[in-house]
Amino acid sequence: MKGIVLDDRALLMVESDTVATALDDLERGTELSVAAVGSDRDRVTLTEDIAFGHKFAIERIDAGDPVEKYGERIGSASRPIEPGEWVHTHNCESDRGRGDRTAEGANA
């Protein structure tokens, strides 16, 4: 597997990524070591349950800042995201194919 495995339970695709993928159903309160990667902290504690295949933040991401996986931008934070928080459509949005934004702009 490409990437960096965190305590056998999560995967960071590229060291600079700001989100990791759960390799199992992980429970709230689970602590994972991120000392070996580019995070600004040693450990991340999950603040909610993270289902297999879903993502959590390994550092704070401010609203509007890029969310990074595969060493690439996969979208923007639509509100501030704390370390250990689930990252999905409720707090991360695509920047592409957004005809709705164009339509809003046209109506403004």
């Binding site: 490409k2 993502k55 690439e72 991360c92 695509s94 592409r96 194919g97 957004r98």
Partner: protein, 395 residues
């Protein structure tokens, strides 16, 4: 050198199956084509689809190209073209296009044959004759460089980008090292990853065309005030952990491997033999996308799925690869290769080698799970009015 045994066609190309294809020209002939194939039995397959008897010119041209390409696929030993008799599509042109590669082809008009019942019985007789005609074909040694390998993903989840897609990509790299062609498609799933693909284009012209195609797909959404987030990623993808189209795309493109991109062709356009990695500009609907590549000449396909897709194809064997251990356990009778071992530490290279070995053994005649279950999904992409508008074509 990697070899398999396939069916050498008159024009030198190699098939991995020896089928009689019953090809309807329109939806009006689709049910009858299915009945003919069902009654004619083993080795006879049909390609039912929903295209109407009339279509705008650009859409019709695409349908004609796909139907011709399906008949020309080297897995097709002989073809029977069935039509109602009112289709605007050029039936003779399609039959001639198939015959041009030396494939025996017959045509059957439902109106001339005297309606549905008589057409089915006449069609079964013709299919039997065509089966007899191609029954003498024997497998002979062929080189992996003669394979065109279609790769597809559907029902993606987070394991697709981590396990099954990189493993299939490794198999693509192996085939290309052996001189073959690999092709992946679904332009909407290049969105957000096109800069990565653009860097890998072998020349400036390919790079320019790739970016133009991605822009066009995104512009259609933009023009219509459509929010792509509603359809991409799909609800199932989201349940599987994929959040945005960018994330889905970055995971999807790894199924093509790491070779330079030699070109990009239109939906259903012929793919080159010995062409390295080539992209096809297709919509994001997996069944239509597979059909586009099979119409382009792909003899064999691999299809990665995290959540568990079951689809096959009537012309090309489809190898199912999953990176999700639960899907492998639950849907073993639809899956051919388990790539979830990557999550337990098996190197991508080792799973890639297993997929490449599976590719060669399936090319050699081993049936895939989809073939065993009779999964033969077929659909042709119809260019939609808003796409025709974007292309400046009459609607």
């Amino acid at each position: 050198m990697s070899e398999f045994a396939g069916y050498r066609r008159d024009d030198g190309r190699i098939g991995v199956r020896n089928r009689v294809a019953v090809i309807p020209i329109s939806v009006a002939a689709s049910t009858i084509a299915e009945r003919i194939a069902a009654e004619a039995g083993a080795g006879v397959t049909s390609t039912p689809h929903q295209m109407g008897t009339e279509q705008p010119a650009a859409a019709r041209a695409q349908t004609e190209r796909v139907l011709t390409g399906i008949g020309r696929n080297p897995n097709v030993g002989a073809a029977l073209v069935v039509y109602l008799g009112t289709e605007v599509a050029d039936v003779d042109g399609i039959a001639d296009g198939i015959a041009d590669v030396g494939t025996p082809v017959e045509t059957l008009s439902i109106r001339s044959a005297g309606g549905a019942r008589d057409t089915v019985s006449a069609g079964v007789s013709i299919a039997d004759e065509l089966s007899d005609e191609i029954a003498s074909a024997r497998r002979e040694t062929a080189d992996a460089s003669e394979l065109i390998f279609a790769v597809e993903c559907g029902g993606s989840d987070a394991t697709s980008g981590i396990a099954s897609n990189p493993a299939v990509g490794n198999a693509c790299d192996r085939l290309i090292d052996d001189g073959g062609t690999a092709c992946f498609s679904e332009t909407p799933e290049f969105i957000g990853a096109e800069h990565v693909l653009a860097e890998r284009c072998a020349d400036e012209e390919t790079r320019r065309r790739l970016l133009e195609r991605v822009d066009r797909r995104e512009a259609i959404a933009d023009m219509m005030g459509v929010d792509l987030r509603e359809s991409q990623p799909s609800p199932g993808n989201k349940e599987g952990g994929l959040t945005t189209i960018e994330e889905k795309s970055l995971g999807a493109i790894s199924k093509g491997g790491t070779s330079p991109i030699r070109g990009i062709v239109d939906y259903g356009e012929p793919l080159p033999v010995g062409g390295g990695l080539v992209l096809m500009d297709t919509p994001g609907y997996d069944v239509e996308s597979v059909v586009g590549k099979v119409a382009g000449g792909a003899q064999i396909a691999a299809f990665t799925t995290g959540r568990g897709s079951t689809t096959g194809n009537p012309i090309a064997p489809v190898i199912k690869v999953t990176g999700n251990a639960r899907t492998w356990d639950r849907m073993a009778n639809n899956m051919d290769v388990n790539a979830s071992t990557i999550l337990d530490g098996e190197p991508i290279d080792s799973v890639g080698e297993r997929i490449y070995e599976t590719l060669l053994s399936v090319a050699d005649g081993r049936p895939t799970e989809a073939e065993r279950r009779g999964m033969e999904e077929f659909a042709i992409n119809e260019i939609q009015p808003r796409e025709l508008e974007a292309l400046g074509e009459p609607v």
